[in-house]
Symmetry: C2
Subunit: 108 residues, 2 copies
């Protein structure tokens, strides 16, 4: 699932809030984190990528535009994770109090 | 750019080769690495995500299927990076001696 979100600049400049939402969602959905990168750009947004055994989740924020790109990729090789992708995506939209500018569900 | 690649199992089980190709390509294209995760699954494939100031690159490999998903996302907010996306994608395909099973270029 590839999305563009719109949210408050304060939220889009707060990687700690994002980390809390990601970690809660990973726990609720029973996913397994194997590594992560959180990187804040001084006076601007942040980038976060969380690697899961099931693939990865990423967000890049631009508070100055009120926008973020947010992607959830879960592998379907071993089981169908499509429902978890949607639940992860929606949990983060809710947690960030964001609105969805665009959303594309991609299978391959 | 979202891709599915086919390559030799030995290549798909070798994160060091992938790291070398990623790092070379980042340098050649003048991109900036801000963090990375490389995680090998014992007796299986690996996951690698490299965060760039311009977004991120990810690969997840399944040597047992001879397949990998490989994505290059570069932001176009500050400049058009479409050409660098294609060059990055092609450099990795060449480096891994892979064939492209599918390839989708997505703009948002």
């Amino acid at each position: 699932m590839l999305g563009v979100l719109s949210a408050d600049a304060a939220v889009l400049g707060n990687p700690d809030l994002c980390r809390s939402i990601f970690d809660d969602t990973i726990r609720v959905l029973g996913l397994s984190k194997i590594g992560e990168v959180y990187h804040g750009f001084p006076g601007a947004g942040f980038t976060a990528v969380v690697c899961l055994t099931e693939s990865h989740v990423s967000i890049h924020t631009w508070p100055e535009f009120g926008k973020a790109t947010f992607d959830v990729f879960l592998s379907n090789f071993e089981r169908d994770n499509s429902d978890k992708v949607r639940r992860f995506f929606n949990a983060v939209v809710t947690g960030l109090q964001a609105t969805i500018v665009s959303q594309q569900e991609i299978s391959r």
